[in-house]
Amino acid sequence: MGYIRTDRDFHEARWDEPIIMELGNPGERGVMIPLASEHITECVGSGESLVPQGLLRKKMPALPEMSQMQVLRHYMRLSQETIGTDINIDIGLGTCTMKYSPKINEQMVRSPKLTELHPYQDESTLQGILEIMYRDQEYLKAISGMDCVSLQPSGGSQAIFANVQTIRAYHEANGEGEQRNEIITTILSHPANPGTAATLGYKLITLYPDKDGLPDLEALKASVSEHTAALMITNPEDTGIYNDRIRQFVDTVHEAGGLCVYDQANLNGVFGITRARDAGFDMCHYNLHKSFSSPHGCQGPAAGAQCVSDKLRRFTAVPTVEFDGEKYYFDYDHPDSIGKLRKFYGVPAVLVRAYAYIRSLGPDGMKQIAELSILNNNYMLKKLLTISGLSMPMAEGRFRMEQARLSWEQLTEDTGVTTDDICRRIVDYGFQDYFASHHPRVIPEPFTPEPVETYSKDDIDEFVEAFRSIAKEAYENPELVKSAPHKAALASQIDESGLTDWDKFATTWRAYKKLNQNA
């Protein structure tokens, strides 16, 4: 009962594995493939004879030559030097929704019934996966309140990109494509919002938080005009402060003729509690690998969903999946569609996991996700805020939704220890490092935890106590924290100039060797 400890003698596996390019010996093999038979070779000749002149490779690629067990061992060791969600209390990576990804779902997506499916097979042979995609669309309609869902986006950012394409298509259809060239977003929105808008040539207007920590409504009113294409806004933002004036934001932009797009990458705090449509939004998107639980896979593969209201249905990314009473089929009949976002049909494994996840929770379970992530967060915050040097700026005294942005500013002032130092030190306690903030750091010395519903009260208590312990270290022995990490796989700090100086820039071993030969 209530077992927590922060005095574990954690030492991450430290294998000092050499770069794989230096392993193995000439002639070793890791895997064989089915070769052409002698008969085929007799008929057609050697491979080299079949390569047109000038295209034959002149020098074999200098890949490692290793036997299979040695490859396996190398990567097993590297995996042990990685703090995945499965082996730690991954509350620190806020905004990332590091929840448990059920193993049963993983088993199912590894079935050949999904893995060996080719996207161009006849639809009659794809009825299983199409049914799952169709049902996903229906469930996401229920969750968002929207009328049409496309599962084509390869990730959250591509879903945002699809939404920006839809904004443009909508205004172009109304003859206002040129005129409406501004998109309004907020400084605390995910960088993909301004990033995608800029990719498509929009001018950005950025709202900053007011004294309550909410995007400045007066600034919005001053910004809207006949040039406004859309508002792209998140709620709650990374601060976890719910924007209770969201309806006024939507109305203000609608009155000016713009569209309103809800960034709901992280849905974890609002499942079944409030819906994008009911706040008046025209569109939203979900990161299906986050709230709908797919393992994050060292940054992907992910998947996104684009959810739109009826008036934008005709612009949606194609295809959607429909059902004619007998069979499921891809529907390309969205007359003014923004087109295809990628080859084939999104990232189906994530869609299957999302399906299994929704089915395993049901309507009450989905709402319970939101309720428990709100409870977990506020419980955690109450405890965290008893730590010296840590504060929660903006909207003091108000509850937060599912995450929060805190600040170590006081601790930095008192001790010189920064959030980046603490972020390294927490690894020594066996936790994943934490998410400070997206650029720019509006809140100084930021720290953004998110204790999703799959963490227990004990997990949260342990997480809090680890930070309390580090804060104590900062006041008593700041050098210990500043020189961290000490017990991680990499136990000394890197030379940052290697990452910020073009003269040292090397993304491959060969580039590194060349640079250091010349040095």
Partner: protein
């Protein structure tokens, strides 16, 4: 004595704090009576959703959940059930068991955006992936993985446009072959709409090769920021004029971008050694199952040209020294390039893409080694050539429409059979064969044509079965 069941509160295995006593302790700590008291203090009443979500009731045990989901998935008929000749950007190759084993490791599978110190092993694995891709492509700079080849091609176009503009060469045109992958073409058209203009260069009607005269005219008339080609082309034939295309591009101050096929590079030269400035493509063939198209992941690479590197929009994992001699660390290098580093001032947007497939491709390349990659390329070349030879014996169809050398794919034209590809594929399906991709809509100039794909896994028996089936179908026999 006996065990007394607890109250039937809904305690879900994924939610420890759904135990009523624990929930109560936490509420007490906060001094509130219920969770909705918390969120009702934040969310205006008119925004609260007061109904129950319209979702099916839960299947709470794993056995029934698996039965249910697999019951649906089992309706799929896969390329293991039938014989497949489909490719067109998604390929069936041998996936070494250690690729699956290692990308299922919980540490890799469930890590995310942790950095230098928490995820040292992940960072090294990614750097090793880019290092091995560097060898395969003969490139010094390799990007982090993108969503897919289409994203890589689109971003490569944008990289070229920006790099050219930075040098004062302000030309917005990108010249592409008329035989380009149509899905990638439409993706690039949408993606680059504000950055540049995509212009199609004609191709020789017989060979499919790029029409160099048309290319030169277009370069002479309007110039270009870049010229793009695929090798092999989407339609399977080798673009044998790779060096001439690059030379022409350079003569008119354009960059040359090429999309090679990863599975060919053990035996086929990297375009970077044939004059190309940038290469891009997909790593799905390197250890990823097809997954109904979900195994895709893109790469972009070039030589140590910082003018180009500065324009890359993806994360780049750089190596750097540490406080300990001979030990390295990794981190995101020159991050101001990315939207994560500078929001709208960045080159393009960037998000969670396909990291796990990068690590997997590294495992694949390390397992295959130079000899394995050579044999892979060789075997595919041989089996493709053999399939063309055998199928050419069938009357009334034109096998290998373009006549040249091919890698893994070739076009069969069915015009003389008076049947459409759709009809033929239906008849093949009845014989448990997935026929080639129908390209008659994307390339009407080539009539009723289909793109057939052969891999190292294709057997002689499968080729014979296809020959028998196509013979019967084209002769109108059942």
């Amino acid at each position: 004595m006996g065990v007394t069941g607890k109250d039937k509160a809904f305690v879900h295995p994924y939610m420890p704090n759904s135990v009523p006593e624990i929930k109560q302790q936490m509420l007490d700590e906060l001094g509130v009576g219920s969770i909705d008291e918390i969120y009702k203090s934040l969310i205006p009443d008119d925004l609260l959703y007061k109904e129950r979500l319209d979702l099916p009731e839960p299947i709470v045990n794993e056995y029934e959940l698996k039965r249910h989901v697999m019951g649906i998935l089992n309706r799929n008929i896969t390329t293991e059930d039938y014989v497949s000749f489909l490719g067109a950007g998604c390929y069936r190759h041998q996936v070494p068991a250690i690729c699956d084993e290692l990308n299922m490791r919980g540490e890799f599978l469930t890590a995310y955006c942790g950095d230098t110190y928490s995820d040292h092993g992940k960072m090294q694995a990614i750097f090793e992936y880019t290092s091995m891709m560097g060898e395969l492509l003969d490139a010094d700079i390799v990007s982090y993985t993108t969503y897919d080849a289409g994203q890589s091609v689109s971003s490569a176009f944008c990289i070229a446009l920006r790099a050219q503009a930075a040098k004062g060469h302000d030309n917005r045109r990108i010249l592409v072959p008329s035989t380009m992958n149509p899905e990638i073409r439409s993706q690039a058209l949408a993606y680059c709409r504000n950055a540049g203009e995509i212009i199609t260069v004609g191709s020789d009607p017989q060979t499919g090769l790029m029409d160099l005269q048309d290319l030169e005219e277009k370069l002479k008339d309007g110039g270009a920021a870049a010229v793009f080609y695929e090798n092999p082309s989407y339609l399977g034939f080798f673009e044998t004029q790779a060096e001439q295309i690059a030379a022409l591009a350079h003569r008119y101050q354009a960059l040359c971008i090429a999309q090679p096929e990863a599975a060919s590079l053990g035996i086929v030269e990297s375009p970077l050694n044939l004059g190309a400035d940038l290469v891009c493509g997909d790593i799905q063939p390197l250890g990823m199952h097809m997954q109904f198209g979900g195994g895709q992941a893109g790469f972009i690479a070039c030589n140590q040209d910082l003018g180009l590197a500065e324009q890359f929009p993806t994360y780049m994992y750089g190596i750097t020294k540490t406080g300990q001699d001979g030990r390295y660390g990794w981190g995101r290098a020159m991050n101001y390039r990315c939207s994560h580093g500078s929001r709208e001032n960045a080159n393009e947007y960037f998000g969670t893409e396909t990291g796990l497939w990068g690590i997997t491709a590294g495992i694949y390349l390390a397992s295959m080694g130079p000899q394995g990659m050579y044999e892979l390329g060789e075997t595919i070349l041989q089996k493709t050539s053999y399939a063309i030879r055998r199928l050419s014996e069938i009357k009334n169809i034109t096998v290998n429409l373009f006549g040249g050398a091919n890698f893994q794919e070739f076009v069969i034209n069915f015009d003389q059979t008076r049947k459409t590809v759709k009809e033929i594929n239906q008849e093949l399906l009845a014989r448990r064969i997935f026929g080639g991709k129908d390209v008659s809509r994307d390339f009407p100039q080539y009539g009723q044509s289909a793109l057939y794909c052969i891999s190292e896994l294709t057997t002689e028996e499968e080729i014979e079965n296809l020959r028998t089936a196509l013979t019967a179908i084209t002769e109108g026999r059942q």
